[in-house]
Amino acid sequence: MLGKLIRHEIKSTARIFLPLYAVLLVFALLNRYLNPLQVFDSSGTPNLESMLKGISISLYVILIIAVFVLTLVIVIQRFYKNLLGDEGYLMFTLPVKAWQHILSKFLTAVIWYFMTAASVVISVMILIGADKLFDFLPQLIQMIREAFGSSGPVVLPAFILSQMAAGTLMIYSSMALGHLFQKNRLMYSFAMYCALYAAYQIILAILILLLGNNLFESLLQSAAPTPAQLNSLFGMLAAVAVLMAVVHFVLINHILTRKLNLE
């Protein structure tokens, strides 16, 4: 059933995401032929051509930002509308457990986070040429390796995934908490998000104060943190994020099974 839910969720969201990515890629291609990066090289007086190039590269940057923002908006909207709105009457009368609904929404969101990141990277490759990016890639890997040591390939992906999980489930959680109110649910959801975010920051601050002393001492004394210090910091942040994600998951599941009250 989880598989069916995910398949349906992907189908419902792909119709928005795929055209969005297509626009981004087409725009990158357009920019490549306009060659707008030359704008910054040319020292001549501004003319129509350089103005066009300037506009088109600005639009491209705005489009990239828009793709990121829209990804988040769709993730929020799918949970709010499909589970807590009128469509919830259909979803919650399917022979499916609430946790499967949450998981299907969350896993689909993660798929789209990666797809969005991939489409932006591909669009940059189209714009500046794949070869240049591939020249840069080994440098980036080298930098990460120097900073994080040999455990970087484990710690960094774990960190990124844990942040996605905590961030997304915190948003879902605030909407579920907002659902507990009879009126102004959207407003309360927003308020709940602010509260949860603040709580998360406070917990992080306390933990860093308790556990991170070591790191800050050495940061104050010398310049660069050692790989071991960076790994323990990112590892700790990941662990906290995973813990928060689990807490949110349990909370959302409780609200959706015991406290559901569709309008």
């Binding site: 189908k11 259909l90 009368t93 399917l94 009879q182 406290k259 569709l262």
Partner: protein, 232 residues
């Protein structure tokens, strides 16, 4: 408990408001039951609890011997008051969705009924009128070969012609031995199809019995008895 639906002291409060107050009911198989009562009498709350969309605050409810949950959702077909159709879907999408999740869904039957209304597979739900959407939703619900159909105000917002269509669809499509519970305050229109009635008032069962029984004992139609019981 041999009854299809049974509840004891079923209660639901929202804050200090008691939407349902110690409701006791037994409903057998193969009945068409009218859940009747004025607005805010607890009809929708009762139906939502049966569908696991609300958790009762007291008492208990069993459908085919089980608490509302995955197992009951497999055998209960529910028509909510709201339109739950995803606007972006085509008719074929929503049919595939039902087919995917309900093993008792009869796709051919659904397509036949849609066809007789002139609705095609490729039609978009977005472009349909409110009345057409309601009919599509009813067709989806009645195309399941369920044991219990819970229909919340199925004839609430439609014109008399559509009302007849809806009642016909319900009568001619519910599977044998299944029970249909439909809530409404438009009693005159549905009286002729009902076997049993339940009157709800302020979250409590005010009266329950078979339609024949009521007619015999009170010498009145259900409609006029309703007017009497709920006289303002």
């Amino acid at each position: 408990m041999n009854n299809l639906l049974e509840c004891r002291n079923l209660s639901k409060s929202f804050g200090s408001v008691k939407a349902l107050n110690k409701v006791n009911l037994s409903i057998g198989q193969g009945r068409i039951v009218g859940l009747l009562g004025p607005n805010a009498s607890g009809k929708s709350t009762f139906i939502k609890i049966c569908n696991d969309l609300l958790t009762p605050t007291g008492g208990e409810i069993r459908i085919a011997g089980k608490k509302p949950g995955i197992e009951t959702k497999k055998i209960v077909s529910y028509l909510p008051e709201r339109s739950y159709l995803n606007d972006w879907m085509k008719v074929s999408d929503i049919i595939a969705f039902f087919q995917d999740f309900y093993s008792d869904f009869n796709r051919d039957k659904a397509y036949d009924m849609l066809k007789s209304l002139g609705i095609g597979k490729k039609d978009r739900l977005k472009t349909m009128s409110k009345g057409t959407k309601e009919k599509v939703q009813l067709i989806l619900v009645m195309s399941r070969e369920a044991q219990l159909y819970l229909l919340d105000e199925p004839i609430g917002g439609v014109d008399p012609a559509a009302r007849d269509y809806i009642l016909d669809t319900i009568i001619s499509n519910y599977s044998e031995n299944a029970t249909v519970i439909l809530s409404t305050h438009l009693i005159a229109d549905i009286e002729k199809i009902l076997d049993d009635v339940i009157f709800l008032r302020e979250g409590q069962v005010a009266l329950t019995g078979t339609v024949d029984q009521i007619r015999e004992e009170s010498g009145k139609s259900v409609d006029s008895l309703f007017r009497e019981v709920f006289k303002c």
